[in-house]
Symmetry: C2
Subunit: 205 residues, 2 copies
DNA sequence: ACCTGAACACCGTTCAAGT
DNA sequence: ACCTGAACACCGTTCAAGT
């Protein structure tokens, strides 16, 4: 309605976000491998060359998508870390639940974030977004060490253990190799809590 | 020399393996995303339609590649499990080292195996190969529980914890998010051992 | 049986040209 | 500034045809 005769202008003013939105939909529907720039452009209602005004190439679009995923993930972990009514152990468990939950809700985005299809090296914003997620985890561990509930070791070392476990869970789940005995979403949450507690208490007697 | 005039016949008799070999080379050189069937055929010295005699489609070739990776992985873990001179804890640590080592040596293959680009669901051989790797791990855990060095829990539950940790390490390493403080291959092995021990002894005091 | 060559419907990317 | 349309060099896949 903002344009005479109903004819669209060059675009609705924010093609960049329109493209990201369309890409996120297509990603969820078909996976990253078959996410073509041309299909994204078509869904956004522009010609196949238009995206190049906003993204250097296909990889840049994928990177922007992955970056958004890391920001969401960092937010979810920070939320768990900031829950004042829980102790460090509980926070750690719930951070794991949040991590896996995002992966289960958005498996294609998660695979994109960690799948190596986007080049990590040359994107500072991408690295920063993933580092923020790690820092939120580190904060929980640091608290626990300070409170004496976790072992007195370098928090980075302990955080790495927690991170690898959480990350392994999400990757195995989005790969479809871990859902066998999980019924529904509550089933997955419980499974994650079980694994997280085993990480905390260890395998040895 | 087996053919008159040096003219090649239809092929050297085992095009299937020649294609797999060429694909593995290209995978290591360029990653799975840009591994085209046409490039594989060209490297194997046949027309671009020839691969379809041996693989239903591109995904089938990738699955065969991933399957080989799982077989190698299962073999490496079984080797660690069968080392009679080590106790269950040591075996578990070394299984982790083997797991990560293969990932670091063959990052593109590892991403292919776990990256979700190959459809896991519809391939029994693929599932079986990955299950064998898990069974080898389970055997180590079972021994440890029987020997009383691991906690008296369902070995599957404990094995899952070990697996998620090892898997998380490999995925983070092949994604380039974990190499910051590792210098050389011995550095990575030590890092893996450190993480594995933390998993065994737990985070809590 | 096993492979080739042409064909089709797609890609990513570039670039002159339009408004 | 922002977008289009044609063009190029690639894809995966199919299929008639060759030996």
């Amino acid at each position: 309605m903002t344009h005479p005769k109903g004819a669209q202008p060059y675009h609705h003013g924010d093609l960049r976000n329109a493209l990201l939105l369309a890409a996120e939909q297509l990603l969820a529907e078909q996976g990253a491998a078959s996410l073509s720039l041309r299909a994204v452009a078509k869904r956004a209602g522009v010609s196949h060359a238009a995206p190049y005004r906003h993204f250097r190439d296909r990889a840049a679009l994928l990177r922007a998508l992955a970056q958004g995923g890391f920001e969401r993930l960092a937010g979810a972990i920070e939320l768990a870390a900031g829950n004042a009514s829980q102790n460090p152990e509980q926070k750690l468990v719930e951070a794991g639940v949040a991590y896996v939950r995002q992966a289960v809700e958005r498996p294609a985005l998660t695979r994109l974030m960690f799948g190596g299809s986007v080049m990590v090296e040359d994107d500072a914003a991408y690295r920063q977004a993933s580092a923020a997620a790690f820092e939120a985890l580190l904060k929980i561990i640091g608290e626990g060490v300070a409170a004496g509930v976790f072992r007195a070791r370098d928090p980075r070392e302990l955080a790495l253990v927690a991170w690898t476990s959480m990350h392994g869970m999400t990757m195995l789940m989005t790969a479809g190799l871990l859902d066998s005995n999980a019924s529904g979403n509550g089933g997955i949450d419980d499974q994650v809590r079980s694994i997280a507690r085993n990480v905390i208490y260890g395998l040895s007697k």
